[in-house]
Amino acid sequence: MAHVFELWIGSLLTLMIFSFLYKDNPFYKFAEHLFVGVSAAYWMVIGIWSTLMPNLVARIWPNALQGIVNMPADAKPQYHYLIPAVFGILMLTRLIEKISWLSRWAMAFVIGFAAGTNFTRYLQSDFVGQIYNAMIPFIAKGDGGISIGASISGIVLLIGVISALCYFFFSKEHSGAFGAVSRVGIWFLMVTFGAAFGYTVMARISLLTGRMQYLGEWLSSIF
């Protein structure tokens, strides 16, 4: 019974959202506002019960949340968690103009931590890693000779990388041989954007198919 009720609610809301395809209307607006409201409430609850309670309150005052939040039965108070608690409260001082400058301490810590944590990883994985990934032999050896497929792939990668980089080199006028290479780069970029668009279409159609299946389930529960 609960599942049927859920099917009806879900299907009617889906149809309300789809009604926008015809034209804007009150049913669509109702579903849209409901979605925004429910999402905001859901994430607030998640934020409190999945982040704030287990990561802060349960660490400082475990006895208060025993049986409510997942933690070992013998958990002891870890008072050093008061430091992030104070930083969290400082963040809220943005709401009071006179002392809003205090929030900069918390912001500085958050930005510093994020930059410090991410910088080395991005540098290693995205910068150095990507350069390394592009260094593949353009004449690849296979079983007992040259592998034609891998070699073509390597050559295309080499041409693509160099020509696309040339396109993004704006310190020199794109004319003559350099201009010709950068135009090849544009073609590579266009193919890339085309492939990305094709993937985007696939994603949207997949989601639409999921909704259609849901509506089909609803209809089969009626008839």
Binding site: N70, T200, L208, M212
Partner: protein
């Protein structure tokens, strides 16, 4: 000068005008039909795995029984049609190969998807598998890439209990796990941030742990540059999921009944793409025809 009669020219102009001004609602209707009809008539196409998907399958195949595999659910209900078949196919394969399955989430919306895998895969195909010995649900922890960074060095420091609140050391399969480097494979099923990219950056690369998985089609092009050196393999969107399912079912036909969700959805996907391609062609013909007509008009 042209030899065409005025009415013929008028007729051509009308067709071009119609092609240029097709009501978007007609396009929506045709797309809807392209999805509904193949679903109703169970139109299914043959799917073959590409090397990038096959690499994941082969890796799982090659792991010896008892190897530890993390399956991270980094998505929510909004991308279930794309991500859920991937997660279920990988979980089914991992359990069938007698590997240890560690399910977790760096997205708050991940745990309900883990429950779906439990009810659709573990309960249906592997009812004899024991919780805590063969598979475990570690649940969601906040922290995004910070969490991944932390468990790379100390998994039990972050996961003191499983999702049900049972102390982590009570489980047989957790006793010899200290951190992520004890894992043989990380599989991330994701749809954004944090997801596959963060697993590569904060676990795979620094810990030298093989990372693979599946992402939504929108995200897939951003991850191809990591393949094959930083990313072992990648399932891109529904196509990737269908390819994994097809490979699994070919090797293990006993899963045909339960493991062909994505393969079945590729029918509507294919027809819808054909409709869209047709409209792209029609649009281009109309555009160039109109342009040619304007050029002729100027010359005249």
């Amino acid at each position: 000068m042209t030899d065409e009669k005025p009415e013929e020219t008028q007729k051509k102009r009308d067709i071009i005008k119609i092609m240029n001004t097709i009501d978007r609602r007609i396009i929506f209707l045709l797309i809807a039909l392209a999805i509904i009809l193949p679903l109703v008539f169970h139109l299914v196409f043959t799917v073959r795995a590409s090397p990038i998907v096959e690499a994941i399958f082969d890796k799982v195949e090659s792991l010896p029984p008892g190897s530890k595999v993390i399956l991270s659910f980094d998505y929510g209900p909004s991308t279930v049609p794309e991500n859920q078949p991937m997660a279920e196919a990988v979980a089914r394969h991992v359990l069938h190969k007698d590997l240890k399955l560690y399910m977790m989430a760096v997205w708050a919306t991940g745990p309900p998807q883990i429950d779906l895998v439990k009810s659709r895969v573990v309960d249906v195909d592997f009812p004899k598998k024991v919780y805590g010995k063969d598979w475990i649900n570690l649940g969601y922890k906040a922290g995004n890439q910070g969490l991944i960074n932390a468990i790379l060095l100390d998994l039990k420091g972050m996961y003191t209990t499983d999702i049900h609140g049972t102390p982590i050391d009570d489980f047989e399969m957790m006793r010899d796990v200290a951190n992520l480097t004890d894992m043989s494979l990380i599989v991330c099923i994701g749809s954004g941030y944090p997801g596959m990219r963060e697993w590569v950056q904060f676990a795979g690369d620094p810990g030298r742990i093989p990372v693979c998985g599946g992402v939504t089609a929108v995200e897939a092009p951003l991850l191809y540059p990591y393949y094959p050196r930083q990313l072992l393999g990648l399932m891109g969107g529904l196509q990737g999921a269908a390819e994994y399912e097809a490979t699994l079912v070919t090797k293990y036909p006993q899963f045909i009944a339960t493991s062909e969700q994505a393969v079945k959805l590729m029918g509507p996907q294919t027809v819808a793409h054909l409709v869209i391609i047709s409209f792209v062609i029609i649009g281009n013909i109309a555009f160039f025809a109109e342009k040619g007509r304007q050029r002729k008009g100027k010359k005249a």
